[in-house]
């Protein structure tokens, strides 16, 4: 799949569709491919961090650095798989799983107090002090029945976030 040709065959489309569990239609995959080729400037077959950052809307997102760690050097198949969590057809579980991955930067399957603090720091920047962030987090954790020392697993995330409807859908523009 990482070829430089800008033409997708039907076979390629089906392969990608399978890889993302049919969460995108074939037309959406073609659209995504056009976008991929636009971002991948020298048709290397993958998109580098720099090329992602050339999208100003992405560069100014507070979580851009975290997301870059997940998508740096990504090829088309994985690009589609990554974005499939944002499909309207994706399950709540799938979306929460992505959120968990964003928090769990060291990929040890556990999200510690420190991990959440770091994400909070990305989101609030210089507008909250470290003490304020710690205080807020300790308080809400306690109220939810966790402590500062507890590490949250994916199941915990599902328990906490699965209650309400997650609004995490992105529409793929199709010509």
């Amino acid at each position: 799949m990482g070829t430089a040709s800008s033409m997708l065959t039907q076979y390629d489309i089906e392969e990608v569709q399978e890889h993302c569990n049919n969460l995108f239609s074939q037309q959406e995959i073609v659209s995504l491919y056009q976008r991929f080729c636009q971002l991948d400037r020298n048709a290397k077959g993958f998109i580098s961090s720099d090329e992602f950052l050339s999208v100003p809307e992405f560069a100014m997102n507070p979580l851009s650095q975290r997301l870059l760690k997940m998508v740096d050097g990504i090829n088309f198949k994985d690009f589609v798989a990554f974005l499939s969590a944002f499909s309207a057809k994706a399950t709540s579980y799938h979306k929460i799983e992505l959120i968990f991955k964003v928090y769990d930067s060291d990929r040890n399957g556990k999200v510690s107090f420190k991990d959440i603090l770091e994400v909070l720091k990305d989101l609030s920047g210089p507008f909250m002090s470290d003490e304020q962030r710690e205080q807020v987090l300790s308080q809400v954790l306690k109220e939810a029945g966790y402590s500062k020392e507890s590490s949250l697993t994916l199941d915990d995330f599902i328990k906490v976030l699965g209650q309400s409807e997650l609004k995490m859908d992105v529409e793929i523009p199709v010509d």
């Binding site: 995504l32 976008r35 636009q38 971002l39 400037r41 992602f52 950052l53 050339s54 999208v55 100003p56 809307e57 992405f58 560069a59 100014m60 997102n61 507070p62 979580l63 851009s64 997301l67 998508v71 974005l83 944002f86 979306k95 992505l98 959120i99 964003v102 928090y103 959440i116 994400v119 909070l120 989101l123 609030s124 920047g125 210089p126 507008f127 909250m128 304020q132 807020v136 987090l137 308080q139 809400v140 954790l141 109220e143 939810a144 966790y146 995330f157 906490v160 976030l161 209650q163 309400s164 997650l166 609004k167 995490m168 859908d169 992105v170 793929i172 523009p173």
Partner: protein
Amino acid sequence: MRKNNPKSQSTELELDQPNIEDYLPDGHPIHQEPRGKLRLCDLLDISPTLSEAAGAIVDDSFLRCFKSIPSEPWNWNVYLFPLWCFGVVVRYFVLFPARVLLLSFGWMIFLSAFIPVHLLLKRDNNLRKNIEVFFVASWTGVVKYHGPRPSMRPKQVFVANHTSMIDFIVLEQMTAFAVIMQKHPGWVGLLQNTILESVGCIWFNRTEAKDREIVARKLREHVQGADNNPLLIFPEGTCVNNHYSVMFKKGAFELGCTVCPVAIKYNKIFVDAFWNSRKQSFTKHLLQLMTSWAVVCDVWYLEPQNQKPGETSIEFAERVREIISQRAGLKMVPWDGYLKYSRPSPKLKEGKQRDFADLVLRRLEEK
């Protein structure tokens, strides 16, 4: 009185601009209605921010401005295809050599007269007009001018949307202008140094940080000079694909002059005049133009505008941009064209961070 204080020159992009949030896709607002006490799920739920990031990855209003939008090929048909082939032969082997000859001829006349003339007169408008006629004829430009021809007055600058290097030539044909352009390498740079300098053009270099002050000063000096050619400025600062317009830089609007907007719209019927500097060099672009049937465009001279009392330079710039965009059928986007070459200022990110922090702290108070 200017609102913005002169800051010390920084290497980052100073995006002093109207509220960008007004323009951005109104997807999921990052702040939902505060619903009582802050809970763990509210803190952990980063879905709005993630959605915005994914939305930007999938499609964004900035890169759209620089995408070459291809036209539909019409020749895939039994009888149209040979017709198209015949057309190719005519364009490459008849039109192109004719144009090259015309251009060379024009250059020869120009150069043989230029050197003595340049030494004798400061600027020779007629001579330059002739070379431009050859230039425009060399790619068979079909330009239709609308609107009253601008009268030459002092304290007046012209601003136009920018699609290609030939914008300048198209406008020069009608009136003599002094333009401010990016310094280019190669043969274009040579051209800039020799001939264009004689008509009073000003250079800038977008990569140099201190350049903005120098350029601002040069602009002011030029405008004050009585015999200088009227100044033509492309406030977008970069070539855009003629379907969108990016933010106008305020430099042209702070000179205390009347601003005359000019709108240029190219018709892509034969060739796309948009010079995608990422995809091709200017030489290649020029060759593409010269082997096409014609470059067709409309130029509208619009009503001169003055800064309204109480209006900042940025608001003035945006107002003029709206006038031009409406006339030329361009969609406005809130991005600075220079983002093509550098990263956005951290100030943009900080806006979002501040909103988040405010929301959390506010909800924390609620018991």
